[in-house]
Symmetry: C2
Subunit: 207 residues, 2 copies
């Protein structure tokens, strides 16, 4: 299939308007929308076509409370690593929407996946987790196209989360996502708005 | 910006028709097309907005020859790990298009990146490399929308590639990509066509 300028323009809009959302409305996401996200996520590429991502939708209040407690402990430790103004700036940031987001997804990589038969990951075994990352990014773009925001919560202890959710021993947490409708749309990353970090052009050179 | 059914349908087509390409035509990619890919890649999300990806476009025949030698050594070692029919099947696969692809990109993660000021990656430092993976996936989708195929060559020794390209000590290879126009379009992953691996539905359950 030959893709066109229209495909490029539309993809540009999805990429440009994708945002990391941390301020969610409490409105639920309809099951049929979640089903579409799941289908699109399954189009993601993976090393040796191993498709190692395992998705747990964390609905139970007890599980969510444990995850939030883990985030708060990790975030307090992270804040302690900054001093002075940087620490004040850090503490003023809202770094997760765990309490408000209607949908939580804990996404693991199955390190013992039989699919793919090991192909392509003997010298760079990290490509297995990288496959899950591409599935997460696919989900993120698909969510954006449904006007749903995603926040990737990385301030978590991955071993603690695996324990809380009692996953098999070979599963490792790759990403913990909050999904929901954003309180306000924006074309500026939140860390720019708050002055934490501006963009610099990335380097690309010829050798 | 509110995205529409048209955005969803178009994104679906890009996701569905994205393929891992290993059979390239030798036709070059125009510089203005590469420039567009670079711009779109810079829209990728990153932990703490750190944007740690560093891209080297490997053009010199000497560098390319060294990379190909590394691939061949790693691929021979990988083949030796299979026995019997699986080994025969493995050896029959074409796993890289390094000789034909007009563009090679070596994409590194800068582990010493100052941007982002460490935010969000104290408990899961691997999220820095994951940011580069999302930039690679963004590039992959943008390339597909330009009718350019991408092959991610993971059968490489990342330390050897860093040595060959003489990158700074803090840079770690995340992905080595071949880009070019595909010999034949296809909606079936090559590893399915060759019988190496069929798709299974990924698991998604509620806890």
């Amino acid at each position: 299939m030959k893709l066109t300028q229209d495909h490029r323009d539309t993809l540009d809009q999805v990429l440009k308007w994708r945002r990391d959302v941390r301020h969610f409305r409490r409105e639920p996401i309809a099951p049929e929308v979640l089903a579409r996200l799941r289908q699109r996520m399954d189009c993601a590429p993976s090393v040796g076509n191993a498709r190692p991502w395992r998705v747990l939708q964390v609905d139970s209040p007890a599980h969510r409370a444990s995850v939030i407690a883990s985030f708060e402990a990790c975030n307090a430790a992270a804040a302690a690593a900054y001093t002075g103004t940087a620490q004040k700036d850090y503490l003023a940031l809202k770094l997760a929407g765990l309490r408000e987001a209607p949908v939580h997804l804990a996404i693991f990589t199955d390190g013992a996946v039989p699919e793919g038969r090991g192909l392509g990951r003997q010298t760079m075994p990290e490509t297995l987790a990288y496959s899950t990352v591409m599935a997460i990014h696919t989900l993120w773009l698909a969510a954006r196209a449904e006007n749903i925001g995603v926040g990737w919560v990385s301030i978590l202890d991955p071993v603690a989360i695996a324990d809380i959710l009692e996953v098999p021993r070979d599963w490792r947490l790759t990403g913990y996502l909050c999904l929901g409708y954003a309180q306000e749309p924006s074309d500026t990353p939140l860390l720019h708005e708050t002055g934490w970090q501006t963009n610099t052009a990335t380097r690309w050179r010829v050798v």
